[in-house]
């Protein structure tokens, strides 16, 4: 298990998936798809602020923003926003995992997440490698956008 190297919230999600039988993992992914929050109205009203991840089989849009970290240290934390239609539950489920696992982390923590982290969920066989590519692409897009943030202090 490499999940010890993951940020705490993401490591917990990976452990939750790993603890389940394959068919139950799909059920858990479905729960994540239901829990994915809608982006705030200011983004919904401005779809041009969200980027499409074209590798996903269904339309998925995402963007990131930064805000001062809650600990007042002057560091930044990254907020993630996703938009995907309800008729694309697999895509929404992946987005939900990344939202719960990464939202609010520092840029350095997000950049340290291994690119093949989606494989750790143990879904590849149940979802198929083709469908897994969308999730890997989603993580890649988030990391790229984080890497493009202006350097801090």
């Amino acid at each position: 298990m490499t999940s010890t190297a993951l940020p705490t919230a993401l490591a917990e999600i990976v452990d939750d998936f790993q603890a389940l039988e394959e068919s139950e993992r799909l059920q858990l992914l479905l729960e994540f798809s239901r829990e994915l929050p809608d982006p705030p109205a200011r983004l919904l009203d401005h779809p041009e602020l969200l980027e499409q991840v074209v590798e996903c089989q269904s339309p998925l849009f995402l963007t990131i923003e930064t805000e001062p970290a809650a600990d007042q240290s002057g560091a930044q934390s990254v907020r993630l926003f996703f938009k995907a239609p309800p008729e694309a539950p697999t895509t929404r489920g992946f987005a939900g995992v990344l939202h719960e696992g990464l939202d609010g982390l520092s840029p350095a923590e997000i950049l340290a997440v291994p690119d093949d982290m989606p494989e750790l969920l143990g879904l590849t066989r149940a979802i198929t490698p083709l469908r897994m590519r969308g999730m890997t692409a989603m993580l890649g897009r988030i990391k790229r956008k984080v890497a493009e943030l202006p350097q801090q202090g």
Partner: protein, 305 residues
Amino acid sequence: MPYSVEQNEKFAGYAHPERLVSTEWLAAALEDGAVGNGQLVVVESDEDVLLYETGHIPGAVKIDWHTDLNDEVTRDYVDGEAFAALASAKGISRDSTVVIYGDKSNWWAAYALWVFTLFGHEDVRLLDGGRDKWIAEGRPLTTDKTAVAPAEYPVVERNDAPIRAFKDDVLAHLGKPLIDVRSPEEYTGQRTHMPAYPEEGALRGGHIPTAASIPWARAAAEDGTYRDRSELEALYLGEAGLTPGDDVVAYCRIGERSSHTWFALKYLLGFENVRNYDGSWTEWGNAVRVPIARGAERGTVPAGK
């Protein structure tokens, strides 16, 4: 005992009206209890592996195109034993009437129907308009788990030849009609995958020489139902230039969109000899010593063929 065939004016125009049912027909059959008594099995087959779980037609079972119908080790469809096991587990017996529906105007539903046909399942039909039309009409969905009574299904060996073409069959077929159902950008070679879909690794962009370009969706109306007979004739006899009786091969990228066209040619227009080339562009675009054509022109049969 096959369930009764739907009679309506639109379907009557087709060569094999018994292959389609409307949402009204299915709703009435459900009211009649046709699923409960085992005469009718309703199957959902979607692109999204979780869509069925978000809500499905009451009593419907799920068959996933990738995990249930493919054998990833042999890169082939499942064999007779695996199909028998799948059918039994879904409550399907050899004489069940099976109605298949799905997302995206029935791409994956048509693909599942084509696989059922490889096994010679006699009475398998598509729900015209699929999942989206059922929902648009406000018909019921449920997340209740469908209770399935396992059925007996015999082990039947697949009979690929009549409806499935392999690469060598297509090479031998050159000179006879081919229908390319991908997007115009894929046909010309501008791109090797569907807009907004993952790159699946075709090395070359273009089409099989002489193939006519008729993107699959042109066979579907706004509401996802098949276009009527005269519209389909204008498309395939007119624009593509097919003649009744032709031996036709349809292909796309991995064989799913072309199943939708295969269904239209075979059952709605009545072409006896239509094969789906499921290797499609992911195979042809990468194969050694296999010719392609680029650009909007159909191209010519390569010399020496």
